[in-house]
Protein backbone atom coordinates (compact mmCIF):
# COMPACT_ATOMS: atom_id res chain seq x y z
CA UNK A 1 0.00 0.00 0.00
CA UNK A 2 2.81 2.41 0.83
CA UNK A 3 4.96 1.40 -2.14
CA UNK A 4 3.45 3.59 -4.90
CA UNK A 5 3.86 6.65 -2.72
CA UNK A 6 7.39 5.72 -1.83
CA UNK A 7 8.11 5.65 -5.57
CA UNK A 8 6.40 9.01 -6.03
CA UNK A 9 8.34 10.33 -3.04
CA UNK A 10 11.57 9.16 -4.65
CA UNK A 11 10.80 11.16 -7.76
CA UNK A 12 9.93 14.24 -5.70
CA UNK A 13 13.22 13.72 -3.83
CA UNK A 14 14.92 13.81 -7.20
CA UNK A 15 13.57 17.31 -7.79
CA UNK A 16 14.63 18.21 -4.24
CA UNK A 17 18.18 17.10 -5.05
CA UNK A 18 18.20 19.28 -8.16
CA UNK A 19 16.73 22.30 -6.32
CA UNK A 20 19.20 21.96 -3.43
CA UNK A 21 22.18 21.95 -5.81
CA UNK A 22 20.78 25.02 -7.57
CA UNK A 23 20.28 26.65 -4.16
CA UNK A 24 23.97 26.36 -3.32
CA UNK A 25 23.98 23.12 -1.33
CA UNK A 26 26.74 20.64 -2.17
CA UNK A 27 25.70 17.13 -3.27
CA UNK A 28 26.75 15.79 0.11
CA UNK A 29 24.75 18.46 1.98
CA UNK A 30 21.65 17.78 -0.13
CA UNK A 31 21.86 14.03 0.55
CA UNK A 32 22.60 14.58 4.25
CA UNK A 33 19.57 16.89 4.51
CA UNK A 34 17.29 14.11 3.22
CA UNK A 35 19.01 11.40 5.23
CA UNK A 36 18.87 13.10 8.62
CA UNK A 37 15.81 15.37 8.39
CA UNK A 38 13.54 13.28 6.09
CA UNK A 39 10.72 15.83 5.83
CA UNK A 40 9.88 16.73 2.26
CA UNK A 41 7.91 19.96 2.52
CA UNK A 42 10.21 21.40 5.20
CA UNK A 43 13.28 20.62 3.10
CA UNK A 44 11.77 22.26 0.02
CA UNK A 45 10.83 25.33 2.08
CA UNK A 46 14.29 25.68 3.65
CA UNK A 47 16.19 25.20 0.40
CA UNK A 48 13.95 27.66 -1.50
CA UNK A 49 14.66 30.33 1.13
CA UNK A 50 18.43 29.74 1.09
CA UNK A 51 18.34 29.78 -2.75
CA UNK A 52 16.50 33.11 -2.69
CA UNK A 53 19.21 34.61 -0.49
CA UNK A 54 17.30 34.36 2.80
CA UNK A 55 19.39 33.61 5.87
CA UNK A 56 19.72 30.40 7.84
CA UNK A 57 17.32 31.75 10.49
CA UNK A 58 14.50 32.32 7.99
CA UNK A 59 15.07 28.89 6.43
CA UNK A 60 15.02 27.15 9.82
CA UNK A 61 11.88 29.02 10.90
CA UNK A 62 10.05 28.08 7.69
CA UNK A 63 11.06 24.43 8.00
CA UNK A 64 9.95 24.37 11.64
CA UNK A 65 6.53 25.80 10.78
CA UNK A 66 6.22 23.26 7.95
CA UNK A 67 6.97 20.44 10.36
CA UNK A 68 4.76 21.77 13.14
CA UNK A 69 1.89 19.54 11.93
CA UNK A 70 3.96 16.55 13.14
CA UNK A 71 3.27 17.74 16.69
CA UNK A 72 -0.43 16.76 16.65
CA UNK A 73 0.28 13.80 14.32
CA UNK A 74 2.95 12.20 16.50
CA UNK A 75 0.98 12.99 19.66
CA UNK A 76 -1.98 11.10 18.19
CA UNK A 77 0.21 8.05 17.53
CA UNK A 78 1.93 8.23 20.94
CA UNK A 79 -0.51 6.05 22.88
CA UNK A 80 -0.24 3.32 20.21
CA UNK A 81 3.54 2.98 20.63
CA UNK A 82 4.88 0.26 22.90
CA UNK A 83 8.22 0.44 24.71
CA UNK A 84 10.06 2.87 26.96
CA UNK A 85 10.35 6.63 26.39
CA UNK A 86 13.52 6.40 24.26
CA UNK A 87 12.04 3.72 22.06
CA UNK A 88 8.83 5.72 21.66
CA UNK A 89 10.82 8.86 20.79
CA UNK A 90 12.66 6.86 18.12
CA UNK A 91 9.42 5.43 16.75
CA UNK A 92 8.01 8.96 16.67
CA UNK A 93 10.68 9.87 14.11
CA UNK A 94 8.95 7.57 11.61
CA UNK A 95 5.83 9.78 11.53
CA UNK A 96 5.40 11.23 8.03
CA UNK A 97 2.12 12.30 6.40
CA UNK A 98 1.53 9.29 4.17
CA UNK A 99 2.39 6.52 6.61
CA UNK A 100 0.60 8.31 9.48
CA UNK A 101 -2.58 8.37 7.40
CA UNK A 102 -2.11 4.78 6.18
CA UNK A 103 -1.55 3.41 9.69
CA UNK A 104 -4.64 5.03 11.20
CA UNK A 105 -7.17 2.36 12.21
CA UNK A 106 -10.00 4.91 12.31
CA UNK A 107 -10.80 4.33 15.99
CA UNK A 108 -8.13 6.66 17.36
CA UNK A 109 -5.42 3.98 17.41
CA UNK A 110 -2.57 3.33 14.96
CA UNK A 111 -0.82 0.25 13.57
CA UNK A 112 2.82 0.88 14.51
CA UNK A 113 4.13 -1.85 12.19
CA UNK A 114 2.34 -0.29 9.23
CA UNK A 115 3.65 3.14 10.21
CA UNK A 116 7.27 2.08 10.57
CA UNK A 117 7.21 -0.23 7.52
CA UNK A 118 5.69 2.35 5.19
CA UNK A 119 8.11 5.03 6.44
CA UNK A 120 11.12 2.72 6.03
CA UNK A 121 10.35 2.17 2.34
CA UNK A 122 9.69 5.89 1.86
CA UNK A 123 12.99 6.73 3.60
CA UNK A 124 15.01 4.59 1.16
CA UNK A 125 13.40 6.12 -1.93
CA UNK A 126 13.59 9.64 -0.45
CA UNK A 127 17.33 9.44 0.20
CA UNK A 128 17.97 7.51 -3.04
CA UNK A 129 16.00 10.04 -5.09
CA UNK A 130 17.89 12.94 -3.52
CA UNK A 131 21.20 11.23 -4.29
CA UNK A 132 20.29 10.79 -7.96
CA UNK A 133 18.96 14.36 -8.24
CA UNK A 134 21.93 15.92 -6.46
CA UNK A 135 24.57 14.06 -8.46
CA UNK A 136 23.02 13.55 -11.89
CA UNK A 137 20.20 16.11 -11.77
CA UNK A 138 21.60 18.30 -14.53
CA UNK A 139 21.19 15.44 -17.00
CA UNK A 140 17.52 14.85 -16.14
CA UNK A 141 14.44 16.64 -17.37
CA UNK A 142 11.96 18.60 -15.26
CA UNK A 143 10.11 16.14 -12.95
CA UNK A 144 7.05 18.41 -12.71
CA UNK A 145 6.35 17.87 -16.44
CA UNK A 146 5.32 14.32 -15.49
CA UNK A 147 2.65 15.62 -13.12
CA UNK A 148 4.22 13.82 -10.16
CA UNK A 149 3.66 16.76 -7.83
CA UNK A 150 -0.08 15.93 -8.00
CA UNK A 151 0.48 12.46 -6.58
CA UNK A 152 0.67 13.45 -2.91
CA UNK A 153 -2.41 15.68 -2.80
CA UNK A 154 -4.32 13.06 -4.82
CA UNK A 155 -3.20 10.33 -2.43
CA UNK A 156 -4.27 12.39 0.58
CA UNK A 157 -7.56 13.13 -1.20
CA UNK A 158 -8.12 9.39 -1.65
CA UNK A 159 -7.44 8.72 2.02
CA UNK A 160 -9.63 11.67 3.00
CA UNK A 161 -12.64 10.31 1.07
CA UNK A 162 -12.35 7.10 3.10
CA UNK A 163 -12.49 9.15 6.30
CA UNK A 164 -15.72 10.93 5.46
CA UNK A 165 -18.17 8.28 6.56
CA UNK A 166 -19.79 10.30 9.32
CA UNK A 167 -21.46 13.68 9.04
CA UNK A 168 -19.19 14.99 11.77
CA UNK A 169 -16.06 13.95 9.83
CA UNK A 170 -17.38 15.70 6.72
CA UNK A 171 -18.01 18.85 8.75
CA UNK A 172 -14.52 18.74 10.26
CA UNK A 173 -12.95 18.25 6.80
CA UNK A 174 -14.89 21.24 5.47
CA UNK A 175 -13.84 23.33 8.48
CA UNK A 176 -10.18 22.25 8.12
CA UNK A 177 -10.26 23.17 4.42
CA UNK A 178 -11.80 26.57 5.15
CA UNK A 179 -9.26 27.38 7.89
CA UNK A 180 -6.29 26.32 5.74
CA UNK A 181 -7.39 28.22 2.63
CA UNK A 182 -8.28 31.34 4.64
CA UNK A 183 -4.78 31.38 6.18
CA UNK A 184 -2.76 30.73 3.00
CA UNK A 185 -2.62 34.41 1.92
CA UNK A 186 -1.79 35.77 5.38
CA UNK A 187 0.22 33.13 7.27
CA UNK A 188 3.67 31.65 6.55
CA UNK A 189 3.65 28.26 4.77
CA UNK A 190 3.01 25.42 7.20
CA UNK A 191 0.86 27.44 9.59
CA UNK A 192 -2.42 26.93 7.66
CA UNK A 193 -2.21 23.12 8.01
CA UNK A 194 -1.20 23.31 11.68
CA UNK A 195 -4.08 25.64 12.59
CA UNK A 196 -6.51 23.54 10.51
CA UNK A 197 -5.79 20.63 12.86
CA UNK A 198 -7.76 22.59 15.49
CA UNK A 199 -10.91 21.63 13.56
CA UNK A 200 -10.56 18.22 15.23
CA UNK A 201 -11.46 19.86 18.56
CA UNK A 202 -15.06 19.34 17.43
CA UNK A 203 -14.35 15.93 19.00
CA UNK A 204 -14.56 17.56 22.43
CA UNK A 205 -18.29 18.10 22.09
CA UNK A 206 -20.39 16.00 24.43
CA UNK A 207 -22.09 14.19 21.59
CA UNK A 208 -18.81 13.20 19.88
CA UNK A 209 -17.39 11.89 23.16
CA UNK A 210 -20.48 9.88 24.02
CA UNK A 211 -20.36 8.23 20.59
CA UNK A 212 -16.75 7.16 21.20
CA UNK A 213 -17.77 5.83 24.60
CA UNK A 214 -20.63 3.86 23.07
CA UNK A 215 -18.42 2.29 20.39
CA UNK A 216 -15.81 1.38 23.03
CA UNK A 217 -18.45 -0.27 25.16
CA UNK A 218 -19.77 -2.09 22.12
CA UNK A 219 -16.29 -3.57 21.65
CA UNK A 220 -16.62 -5.06 25.12
CA UNK A 221 -13.62 -3.63 26.85
CA UNK A 222 -12.99 0.07 27.27
CA UNK A 223 -9.43 0.92 26.22
Amino acid sequence: MGAPFAVAGGILALSFGILAREGGFSSLEAIAFSAIVFAGSAQFAAVSIVAAGGGAGAAIAAATLMNSRFLPMSASVGPSFRGGPLKRAAKGQTVIDASWALSSRGDGSFDEHMLIGASAIAYCTWVGGTLVGAIWGDRLGDPTSLGLDAIFPAFFFGLLLNELRSRRARGVAALGTAIALALVPIAPPGVPVLVASLASLVGLTKRARSEVLESEEAEGEPR
Binding site: P4, F5, A8, G24, S26, E29, F33, V37, A42, A46, V50, A56, I60, T64, F70, L71, P72, S74, A75, P79, F81, G83, A89, G92, Q93, D97, G106, G108, G147, L148, A150, I151, F152, P153, A154, F156, F157, G158, L159, L160, L161, E163, R168, V172, A173, A174, G176, I179, A180, V184, P185, P189, V193, S197, A199, S200, V202, G203, R209, E211
Partner: protein, 101 residues
Protein backbone atom coordinates in the same frame (compact mmCIF):
# COMPACT_ATOMS: atom_id res chain seq x y z
CA UNK B 1 30.08 26.19 9.28
CA UNK B 2 28.23 26.83 6.01
CA UNK B 3 24.63 28.14 5.88
CA UNK B 4 23.55 24.75 4.54
CA UNK B 5 25.18 22.88 7.43
CA UNK B 6 23.55 25.19 10.02
CA UNK B 7 20.13 24.77 8.38
CA UNK B 8 20.49 20.97 8.25
CA UNK B 9 21.68 20.63 11.85
CA UNK B 10 18.94 22.90 13.22
CA UNK B 11 16.20 21.26 11.16
CA UNK B 12 17.37 17.84 12.32
CA UNK B 13 17.25 18.77 16.01
CA UNK B 14 13.94 20.64 15.83
CA UNK B 15 12.15 18.02 13.71
CA UNK B 16 13.34 15.22 15.98
CA UNK B 17 12.06 17.11 19.03
CA UNK B 18 8.67 17.84 17.41
CA UNK B 19 8.20 14.17 16.55
CA UNK B 20 9.38 12.89 19.94
CA UNK B 21 7.36 15.09 22.33
CA UNK B 22 3.98 13.42 21.79
CA UNK B 23 5.13 9.79 21.88
CA UNK B 24 7.32 10.37 24.99
CA UNK B 25 4.57 12.21 26.87
CA UNK B 26 1.65 10.04 25.85
CA UNK B 27 3.10 6.60 25.14
CA UNK B 28 1.77 3.48 26.80
CA UNK B 29 -1.21 5.18 28.39
CA UNK B 30 -4.87 4.39 28.15
CA UNK B 31 -6.57 6.94 25.99
CA UNK B 32 -9.12 9.16 27.71
CA UNK B 33 -12.34 9.32 25.70
CA UNK B 34 -11.94 12.98 24.78
CA UNK B 35 -8.47 12.28 23.35
CA UNK B 36 -9.73 9.41 21.18
CA UNK B 37 -12.62 11.54 20.03
CA UNK B 38 -10.27 14.35 18.91
CA UNK B 39 -7.73 11.96 17.30
CA UNK B 40 -10.44 10.31 15.20
CA UNK B 41 -11.24 13.73 13.75
CA UNK B 42 -7.60 14.73 13.30
CA UNK B 43 -7.37 12.68 10.08
CA UNK B 44 -10.15 14.47 8.19
CA UNK B 45 -8.96 17.87 9.47
CA UNK B 46 -5.29 17.43 8.54
CA UNK B 47 -5.86 15.50 5.31
CA UNK B 48 -8.37 18.08 4.06
CA UNK B 49 -5.94 20.90 4.90
CA UNK B 50 -3.04 19.13 3.14
CA UNK B 51 -5.13 18.48 0.03
CA UNK B 52 -6.47 22.05 -0.06
CA UNK B 53 -3.09 23.73 0.41
CA UNK B 54 -1.23 21.45 -2.01
CA UNK B 55 -3.90 21.69 -4.71
CA UNK B 56 -4.78 25.40 -4.44
CA UNK B 57 -1.86 27.28 -2.89
CA UNK B 58 1.16 28.60 -4.74
CA UNK B 59 3.25 30.37 -2.16
CA UNK B 60 0.94 32.86 -0.46
CA UNK B 61 -1.73 33.04 -3.15
CA UNK B 62 -4.56 30.73 -4.05
CA UNK B 63 -5.16 29.59 -7.58
CA UNK B 64 -6.23 26.76 -9.82
CA UNK B 65 -3.43 25.04 -11.74
CA UNK B 66 -2.73 21.85 -13.65
CA UNK B 67 -2.25 20.03 -10.35
CA UNK B 68 -5.70 21.14 -9.17
CA UNK B 69 -7.23 19.46 -12.23
CA UNK B 70 -5.13 16.36 -11.58
CA UNK B 71 -6.20 16.10 -7.94
CA UNK B 72 -9.87 16.55 -8.92
CA UNK B 73 -9.53 13.76 -11.51
CA UNK B 74 -7.87 11.56 -8.87
CA UNK B 75 -10.77 12.20 -6.49
CA UNK B 76 -13.23 11.22 -9.18
CA UNK B 77 -11.24 8.04 -9.85
CA UNK B 78 -11.26 6.90 -6.24
CA UNK B 79 -14.94 7.73 -5.89
CA UNK B 80 -15.85 5.66 -8.97
CA UNK B 81 -13.33 2.80 -8.66
CA UNK B 82 -12.29 2.79 -5.01
CA UNK B 83 -8.69 2.27 -6.16
CA UNK B 84 -6.06 4.54 -4.69
CA UNK B 85 -3.61 3.44 -7.39
CA UNK B 86 -6.05 4.53 -10.13
CA UNK B 87 -6.46 7.79 -8.19
CA UNK B 88 -2.78 8.74 -8.15
CA UNK B 89 -2.00 7.48 -11.68
CA UNK B 90 -4.88 9.48 -13.14
CA UNK B 91 -3.92 12.54 -11.06
CA UNK B 92 -0.37 12.50 -12.42
CA UNK B 93 -1.53 11.81 -16.00
CA UNK B 94 -4.12 14.61 -16.01
CA UNK B 95 -1.64 17.09 -14.43
CA UNK B 96 1.04 16.21 -17.00
CA UNK B 97 -1.56 16.38 -19.81
CA UNK B 98 -2.84 19.83 -18.80
CA UNK B 99 0.76 21.12 -18.48
CA UNK B 100 1.59 19.79 -21.94
CA UNK B 101 -1.30 21.73 -23.54
Amino acid sequence: MSTAAIVIAACCAITAAIKAIGPVALGGRDLPTWFTSVVILLSPALLAALVATQAFANGDHLGVGADTAGVAAGGLAIWRTGSIIACVVLAAAVTAGVRAL
